[in-house]
Symmetry: C3
Amino acid sequence: MKHFTSVLDIPSLEDWLSEAKALKQHPRKHVHLGEGKTLGLLFFNNSLRTRLSTQKAALNLGMDVMVMNFGKDGWALEFADGTVMNGNNAEHVREAARVVSQYCDILGIRAFAQLQDREFDESEPVLNGFLDHVSIPIVNLESALEHPLQSLADALTLEEHRTKARPKVVLSWTPHPKPLPHAVANSFIKIMQRMPVDLSIVHPEGYDLNKDIVGPTPVLFNQEEALEGADFVYAKSWSSYQHYGQVLTEDPEWMVSLEKLKGAKFMHCLPVRRNVVVADTVLESKQSLVIEQANNRTYAAQLVLKKLLEQ
Amino acid sequence: MKHFTSVLDIPSLEDWLSEAKALKQHPRKHVHLGEGKTLGLLFFNNSLRTRLSTQKAALNLGMDVMVMNFGKDGWALEFADGTVMNGNNAEHVREAARVVSQYCDILGIRAFAQLQDREFDESEPVLNGFLDHVSIPIVNLESALEHPLQSLADALTLEEHRTKARPKVVLSWTPHPKPLPHAVANSFIKIMQRMPVDLSIVHPEGYDLNKDIVGPTPVLFNQEEALEGADFVYAKSWSSYQHYGQVLTEDPEWMVSLEKLKGAKFMHCLPVRRNVVVADTVLESKQSLVIEQANNRTYAAQLVLKKLLEQ
Amino acid sequence: MKHFTSVLDIPSLEDWLSEAKALKQHPRKHVHLGEGKTLGLLFFNNSLRTRLSTQKAALNLGMDVMVMNFGKDGWALEFADGTVMNGNNAEHVREAARVVSQYCDILGIRAFAQLQDREFDESEPVLNGFLDHVSIPIVNLESALEHPLQSLADALTLEEHRTKARPKVVLSWTPHPKPLPHAVANSFIKIMQRMPVDLSIVHPEGYDLNKDIVGPTPVLFNQEEALEGADFVYAKSWSSYQHYGQVLTEDPEWMVSLEKLKGAKFMHCLPVRRNVVVADTVLESKQSLVIEQANNRTYAAQLVLKKLLEQ
C-alpha cells in the first residue's frame, strides 16, 4: 500500500479489523513506531472528527503533527497543467506537493467535492494533484469521491456490534437542507461490499448513486420496505448525482425514527442534523452507534498510519 | 473537582496559591505527569494569552495539545434541545461534546458572552452545553460569566506582591470604546472575596455588576474616593449589566493614571487599550503588574491541569 | 547573535554553510538540544514553506512549537507609541511582546511589507515593535525588508550546486500580476555579496532596488545580455521601489525560459506563478533547484534555532 486513498487500498479487511481491535485495546503500544516522524495534515475544508482523531492517532504512535488550514493559511493553489498563472492562484500543486513531501513523512489531505461539475469532481483535482507529485504516502481525509477513514471506522463499529454471521445493512438516504457530497456513501458501499453482510440501498427517485460503485447491490425506493428486518441502518444525506449537486427533495418522511428502526442499530458519520436526518430519540437511544463510530475514527486512522510507517 | 469552570471550584485557595508558587519555581518538575494525555483547546473566540499560556502549561506537564478554532475550522454548533436543525448549524453540542471527549483527556473551552441577551448569556449556552454531555474534565478558558484561570493568576500575582496582611484592593471600571463582557470582573470579585483583602468596587452609575456576585462588597461611584489608600487597583472595562451590553459612557475621567494610583500597584487582565483604560506612564512604571499577571497565567493553568490529571 | 533578523546577523557565512550541510546529513543529531524549550511562531501573513519547515526544524531539535495566526486568532495590534487606543486595535505590541516572551524561548515573526508607504514599511513596524520589547530571541520569518531564512537556504543550495570557484549569479526581475515586496531580493543580494560569486542584477527601468542594498553590485536592464554565461539565475518579482509598491509592467518578455537559461541553474523562493515568472519546462527540468531550495529551508531554520539555543 503506497497511499491510503480508498477503502479498496485495504489488502485484507478481515486482518485490518482484527488489528484495529487490538490497537483499540492498547492504543499506546506502538508509541515508539512514529518517533521522529511527522504527519502533515492539510485541510482545504472544515473538519472536527477527522482533524482531532487523526492527530490523536498520530500522537498514539509517537508522531509529531503539523496541521495547516491550507486554503486560509497558505496560498491559493492551481491544479491545472500548462496554465498561465496570472489569476488568483499563487502556487501550483506541482510545487506544493513536492515541497511538502520534504517536510513530512506522511501527508493527510481533505478536499471535498465542490458539487458544481461532476466531471471536475470525479477528476479528484486536489487529491490527484498531490498524488501525482508527492514523494511520501498520502492519507485521504475525505476527497471528492471517498472518505475511507470514515468507512474503516464504520466497518470496525459494525464488526463490534454485529450479533449475526450475516447482518442486514441498509444505507438510507435522508433529507438535508444543503447539497452534500457522495464520498461517505461511496466509501461505505465499497467497504460493505467486502464484508459478510447483506447490503441494500434505499433513496428517493433521482438520488441514484454512481452505478459503477453500486454495482450489484440492491437499490430500493421505499424506505419502510427497505428497513424491514434491518440489523444496521446507516443514514446519509447526499445531493443528486444525475442532476449533479442538486437537492431534489427535503421530504421529512425520509427522516429516520425509532419506529422505523424497530430494533436496528443506527449509524451516521456525523455531523448530523437532528430532527432532519434522524430524530433526537434515536440519537439518545442505545440503538445509536454514532458516538462509537466517531471513537473508532482514532483507531482507523492509527491503523492506516501504522501500516504506512511500517512499510 | 470534576471540572474547573469557576473560581468557586477551588477547594482551598491558600493551598492552591502555595502550590502555584512551587510550580513557578520548578515548572518542569511534573513533566511525566501528563505523558500520553491530550489537552484539547476549543476556541469559539479569539485568544492570545489563554491560547499560549495554556498550551505552555500543558507542555510543562508533558501533555500533548490539540488546538482548534472551533467556529472557523469545525462546524457551526446548535445548543438548543429539540430543534429541527434545518438552518445554519450543522452539528449539535450533544454529539460534539461526546465525540471530543473520546479524543482528549481534558478539554478547554473559550466562549464569550454575546452581550445581546442577558438571559441567554447567563445560561452559559456553550460551556453548559459541553458540560452536560462531556465525559472528561472541562477547563473554562473564559465563558460568558467567568474567567477563572485569569483570576487565579491575578490572585497569585497579588499574593506575590502584597506587603500587608490585609491590603486594600479596588476594582475600578474603566472606559472602553466597545461593549465588553463581565466575566473577568465577576471572577475577580469572587476570588478576592476569598482572599484576606479589603475589596471594594467603583464604577459610574448604571454600571452595577450582578448583585448576587457583588454581595456584601462595598460599591462606590467616586473613583478618587475609592482609590484613596489603595494597595492594588484592578482596572477593567465592562458594558452595562442593567442596560445589558450597552456602553453608557466613555468618560475619559475614569482612565487610570499615576496621579490616581499614588503608590498603588496596577493590575489588568490584558489586552488593554493604552491611554483609554490606563495611561502609558502607568504601564511603563514599576507599579504595573500586568506582565507578571500574564506570566502567572501559565502557572494558574498548569496547577488546574495538574489537579485534573491527578484525580 | 541576539536575534536573527537579517543575513547580516550571520557571523561567518562559510562556517554556517558547513554546519548546515552537516545538519542536513544528520537532522536528528541534536534532538535533545531543544528539550523543554518552546518556539512560538506568529504569522501576520500567510505561509506554507516557512510555516512547515520552521516547525520541522524545531521538531528536529526536540523543541515544542506553538503556531498562531496572529491577525486572525489574536487581537489587532497597535504599534505606534503614545496612541489613544480607541480605534480597532485592541492590544499594544508593548504588552504583546513582553507577554509572549514569557511563554516561549524563541519567537518567529512573519509580517510582510504593506507596500502602501515606503517609510512606514522601512520602519519595520511589526518586527521592530517586537524587537523593542521582547526578552527572548526573535527569528525573522520574512519582514518588510528581509527574508533571511530564505536567503540562507538559497546560499546553501547554491553552495551545494556550484561547480566553479566563482560562479556567475544573476538576480533577474520577473513579471507578476500583483505588487510584491522587496524582502527576498534584498536578502538574496546581501547574502550573495558575502559569497565568492559574481553577482549581477537585471530588471526593467523603474524597478531599481534600494541603492544602499545594491551597493557596488552591477545592475543591467537587458535580460538577454545579463544572463549571458550565467551559472545560476535567481528569478524574483518585485514591485517598483521608486514608484513605491506599483506594478509598472507585466511584460511577458521577462519570463524565464529554457532558451534564456541555456545551461544555468534556475532558482526561485516559491510560491511561483508558472508561465508568468518562469516557463513550466524550466521547473520540470533538472536545471531547476526550487524544490531543493525549499528543502534547505528546514536546515537553514534548524541552524538558526540551534545557534540561538546554544548561546
